[in-house]
Symmetry: C2
Subunit: 404 residues, 2 copies
């Protein structure tokens, strides 16, 4: 008898009928002799509705009180799902985060799970019940309600799976697995049967928004087998594993991309120690996230410096950098919002130096100019002009035989 | 510095603007150097909306899960009210029933409070905060969420006031106090400055639906000074006290009435021991509440038997009684749904035999025929034809000088 933790997100439980459909699905798994713990999010749109209400009440809602309010979203879903399961004779019981002692730190609105008491859940499983737990929420040591921030339900599911030593943590979503790249860009994209945690982390952070990054990190850390599946279409989904299990692992697993990038280049700053900090520091102080950072020596002890930010932050970042650059006596500042980042991801490439050169060769053949390059152990990212996004992704997809 | 427990019902916190208005009101009391604990209900209509949702999910919603769902209603209000108070610089903190350990038995949907741990509330008051507690809800010994049933927020407020030994428990509602009778029937009706718990119990159970009966009982038992006031109009309201404080208490405090009555009469049943039980037993077994019961000897050892039920239960009760009466060999059954009950309420009448005769005399002068009479220590109720309701109430109101 397997123990499964199944997580259903907001779109999967978006209305009464969808909740009933999820209940049927759970009952099927139960009838196949599985013990099941279900983690659910708030119904689609509910969290936004509550936030709007809070903001009409208080310009910047007190974080603690916002959590009291937001946590009602999942509490509604767990009760309704339990009723739907009981109605079809699949005995179920619901718990809030507080009730099953999902203990977090006290960072309201973005709390982190510190402990879970599995006892209460186990006791109900032993009584043959499907246990439904509210995702996204917990309580701090003083019993204050906390929430984990957007996407936190994934983390709840993984944390419960870890605490219960579940056989698998299944994340149900509206896609049927992780693909070699976005099928909307490359129709030949294929579903991966397996992907490693590290690859998944790179894919997720690059815009394949299937899973919340924190939950993948968490699953990797506690060695929880994680599977991404579709709520609406039956299928095996994609298993996220600690190590590639196939002997001859393909070098490249997938192609990720990000369309929301913008770059800022500062040319000819005096190359003194701490120059990078002087430029990036003021930007990150304003809570702007900086992604790629590249520094090149130019001539005569002057450095050229380029970094990328989210396109929404471009204007703000540019304003800050202009001020800094003037003070530092930079020669020129240059910005571009019409760029994209394309990345090859794959554990296999660690030991295959040829991957990078093949990538560059492929782009060169198509006349795609590479503006920036950045590499990590399992990823090579390049920045190119926006117009090359589709061409770049498709060319790489075929060059690395991901459609085979 | 006084400690006040203030309860605001669903209509008082019915929307965003009303919650903001309540916040302003609370701030005023706070500025007058009071410590304040606020108990709130769900916003008007919210509880009904949740029940409807539950019923589309499950024909007869699992009581435990219904409580998980319903409790989100007050949880939403406490968070919003806390935000509204913080926004106007009146420091506030919210708690669910569970969080301040409002312990109840495990009768879901109609739980009874067994204990309250005042410590958490007191700690926050000591820090100068307005403490907001969700009404209507608690948790049983195992931490399951429970609700107290309709009107339960009044009980929560009184229970907290008792636990904290508050100086006063103030119930804010849409009327500005308890009246000598319903002003819609008798425009000369006057607000009472004070009324005793016992009188209030009789008034409440007879349809002056200002307070939930249980909360009045509770307040009387724990000697909590209770005051009914209007959320929307300033004024002293009505204080509900243990003993009439005025030396020369008026004999009659008010006139209550009930328009939802129906009566059933069984004529000529053999007067054997247990006959009352044989007739009433089957009715109450079907959960039909029986109000007045009157039995008279008729001639030749046959008894006449009359009782009243809620008009909604009339058909069902009649059906049951017909069956019983046939078995018992009753001579005749007679029913009437066009009746009302009018009651004189007043602690003073205990020692004033003249009240009853004055009441009968008043009715007799107006040609109002009395069909049934029933008396208690502090109440005289009569059943008359429906058409005499207004005339009866107004005549009594003036005869007992309640408008003076």
């Amino acid at each position: 008898m397997a123990l499964l933790v199944q997580k259903f997100g907001g779109t999967s439980v978006g209305n009464i009928d969808k909740i009933k459909a999820v209940a049927k699905k759970i009952k099927q798994f139960r009838q196949q002799d599985n013990n099941i713990v279900v983690v659910v999010s708030a119904m689609t749109g509910e969290t936004n509705r509550l936030i709007e209400m809070a903001e009409t009440m208080q310009k910047r809602p007190t974080p603690r009180e916002l959590d009291v309010l937001l946590s009602t979203g999942e509490q509604t879903t767990i009760a309704l799902l339990a009723m739907a399961l009981n109605e079809i004779d699949c005995s179920a019981i619901s718990f809030t985060g507080h009730q099953v002692k999902i203990e977090t730190d006290n960072s309201h609105n973005k709390a982190r799970i510190t402990d879970i008491d599995a006892e209460k859940i186990t006791a109900q499983i032993d009584q043959g019940k499907v246990v439904i737990v509210a995702g996204f929420q917990g309580a701090d040591q003083d019993g204050n309600i906390t929430t984990l921030g957007r996407g936190g339900s994934d983390t709840t599911a993984v944390a419960i799976a870890a605490a219960l030593k579940a056989d698998e943590c299944q994340i149900y979503t509206d896609v049927d697995g992780v693909y070699t790249t976005d099928p909307r860009i490359e129709p030949a994209a294929k579903r991966l049967n397996e992907i490693t945690f590290e690859e998944m982390l790179e894919m997720a952070s690059l815009g394949s928004k299937v899973l919340q990054i924190r939950s993948v990190e968490f699953a990797g850390k506690y060695n929880v087998p994680l599977r991404v599946l579709s709520t609406f279409v039956d299928g095996p989904g994609t298993l996220i594993t600690l190590e590639e299990s196939e002997m001859e692992a393909p070098v490249v697993s997938g192609i990720a991309f990000s369309k929301d990038e913008a770059k800022i280049t500062v040319l000819g700053v005096p190359d003194t120690p701490g120059i990078a900090y002087k430029i990036i520091g003021p930007v990150s102080e304003k809570n702007i996230e900086v992604d790629m950072i590249i520094q090149n020596m130019s001539k005569d002890d002057y450095a050229d410096f380029t970094f990328t930010v989210h396109r929404n932050d471009y204007d703000k970042a540019m304003e800050i950098v202009k001020e800094t650059a003037e003070r530092l006596g930079a020669r020129e500042i240059y910005g571009d919002t019409k760029i994209v980042k394309i990345s090859l991801v794959g554990v296999g490439m660690r030991s295959h130096a040829g991957v990078a050169s093949k990538m560059f060769e492929t782009f060169s053949k198509e006349g795609i100019n590479i503006q920036m390059i950045s590499t990590s152990e399992i990823k090579i990212s390049v920045v190119v002009q926006e117009k090359y996004l589709e061409l770049g992704v498709r060319t790489l997809h075929s060059a690395f035989k991901l459609d085979k």
